[in-house]
């Protein structure tokens, strides 16, 4: 059931969903003085029919970005545009918006109310939006689309009577039942067994092929991005530090952080670059390049040699634009690129 080279959308088509200069902050733990800048200036476009993967280590702001795209958190700056119109945060408009954009969460067991049957869980969206048509029919269709066949068998089951993979299919069915245009999937398979993962990913690809669905897939698994995404954006400490097509970024990473991420994969050729230091803290984002404190290139002296070490420490990098092209937010990579040209 694998589909090869699905219709990769042309770079020119207008983005369906885009974030511009998005900032999200949370009140810090140490009083209001230092707020955690969970998302700190992100531009990201998702075009119709495109699958974009957002990767990065834990706590870098992936989930927050995803939530802010759905209007579940309000950005402190910047805006989200859907189909050319900026998001309106009035509850009526949000409701209408959320009919067209759906969220699938990491933990399928958690995303299902243990007291609701599969039927109820899938029909929930229909009920919220006062679906006029045949509810039962719609639920059946969505369940079969999600690969739960025959759907009637599952109607009266409770989440605990399902396997993890089945649960995630129910969640996806619940998203599909409203026939959305975009799905934001936050680590959709992270909690699933390796053997089951592939099936769910294949389902996403199939839906894109059948329904032209676009998707933003949040993950920390680079292999997953390789499996299904057209484009990948690497996030570090609230910013996208490298973006481009999957082939570009994953086979020829430019940013030292992306390189490090790839190098520690068990399969990776060459010595793994294990970053030292604690995981970054969004309430204390370093000045200059936000990665410089852990940067192996800077530590190894290569940046020095390239003459960008000072820039790394003191000079802020611009926000990468959300469009399709390969870009990297790194003084060293840029200097290399310019010298090689």
């Amino acid at each position: 059931m694998t589909t090869t080279a699905a219709a990769v959308p042309s770079a020119s088509s207008a983005p369906l969903l885009s974030a511009e200069g998005l900032h999200v902050t949370f009140p810090g733990r140490r009083g209001d003085a230092t707020r955690a800048r969970a998302v700190d200036g992100v531009d990201l476009d998702i075009r119709p029919g495109e699958i974009v993967a957002l990767v990065g280590e834990s706590g870098c702001g992936k989930t927050t970005l995803a939530r802010s795209l759905l209007g579940l958190v309000r950005p402190s700056a910047g805006r989200v545009t859907f189909a050319g119109r900026p998001l309106d945060y009035s509850s009526r408009h949000l409701k209408a918006y959320r009919r067209r954009v759906q969220l699938v969460l990491q933990d399928p067991s958690g995303s299902l109310n243990p007291r609701h049957t599969v039927y109820d869980a899938v029909a929930e969206g229909l009920r919220i939006h006062k679906y006029a048509g045949d509810e039962r029919e719609a639920v059946s269709t969505a369940l079969s689309r999600a690969g739960l066949r025959p759907p009637e068998r599952f109607f009266l089951r409770y989440p605990h009577q399902l396997s993890g993979g089945q649960r995630q299919r129910v969640v996806i069915a619940g998203a599909l039942v409203l026939e959305p245009e975009l799905i934001v999937a936050d680590e959709p398979v992270a909690s699933l067994d390796a053997s089951v993962r592939g099936e769910i990913l294949a389902l996403l690809l199939r839906l894109r092929a059948e329904l032209g669905l676009s998707a933003l897939v949040v993950t920390h698994d680079l292999g997953l991005a390789w499996n299904i995404a057209d484009r990948v954006a690497v996030m570090y400490l609230g910013r996208i530090v490298e973006t481009g097509t999957v082939e570009e970024v994953l086979t020829a990473p430019q940013h030292p952080y992306t390189q490090a991420l790839l190098s520690v994969l068990p399969e990776a050729p060459g010595a793994p670059v294990v970053l030292t230091g604690e995981p970054p803290d969004p309430s204390r984002i370093p000045s200059g390049c936000r990665f410089h404190a852990r940067c192996q290139i800077l530590a190894g002296g290569e940046a020095e040699r390239a003459g960008v070490a000072d820039a790394c420490r003191g000079e802020d990098l611009p926000v990468l634009d959300g469009g399709g092209g390969a870009q990297v937010a790194c003084h060293w990579a840029r200097s290399r690129a310019s010298t090689t040209q």
Partner: protein, 318 residues
Amino acid sequence: MTYAGGVAAVRGVNLALSAGQKLGIAGESGCGKSTLALALLRLLPSGTRVTGEILLDGEDVLTMKWGRVRAVRWAGASIVFQGAMHSLNAVHRVGDQIAEPILLHRKATPAGARKKTGELLEHVGLPAARASAYPHELSGGQRQRVMIAMALACDPRLIIADEPTTALDVMIQAQILRLIQQLVSEQELGLIMISHDLAVLSDTCDRLAVMYAGRVVEEGPARQVYEDAQHPYGQALSAAFPRIGDAGSRFAPRGLPGDPPDPSALPSGCAFHPRCAVALESCATEDQVLRAAATPDRRAACVHVGPVPVAEEARSTP
């Protein structure tokens, strides 16, 4: 091993490990990996039925007196548990927790234990001063290191690491794996590493056993099992880890259709047959045992590999 509720979590597993060897056990969630690990030190909850033999340096753990079991625990074999955050006692300082088995097994005086604790912490890359920290003051990776230091406290001959890196970030995962590898090779310890990440195991271990529904379905040298699995389940599992740059897996996620088995209601015959692409009619009724496959040091439990069951002669003293 059958839990009190009648769940047969592990069904007839034969494995052997010699000193200094690293064995990886892989398998999906609920296939009995942790149960197996706990059984080795008789840590399963009371009411669990365990049959067979667990020989630790030739001694059967299952028939030991409780006093002897307590003596063997930690001194003979120690465990690094799955979730470090829950495996450490939140109200004791980590140093005390590390020193506790040392004192208990009378390996040192209190002063000696304190010194040893400091050494152990430095060994796993933490400053000795951290001994006075409470678990909540440490990050997940640091706590995992403390667990490893604790496992080394009584110089055991065997360390069992149950999913030491799950729930950790990619970077930290890499750090911990390197640490374990390094310690094991330095100290000539036996290591049993449990994980569901086949790729990680193949990278770390000498040998690899793949479990399915409480059974070992495939066993052999790590790289071979990963790259060229004999059992259909092993194949599916290794395919589930895409290799970046491999064009074949681009837009082609691979998985295993069907659902993981429920250990309390296993299918008849080969437990894997409902999900098996190459299942035969007979698979539904005939159980499959491990048999030699491909090379002599590899075994698999599938009709499609060689016909000779080898399980019985494979037992040796670890």
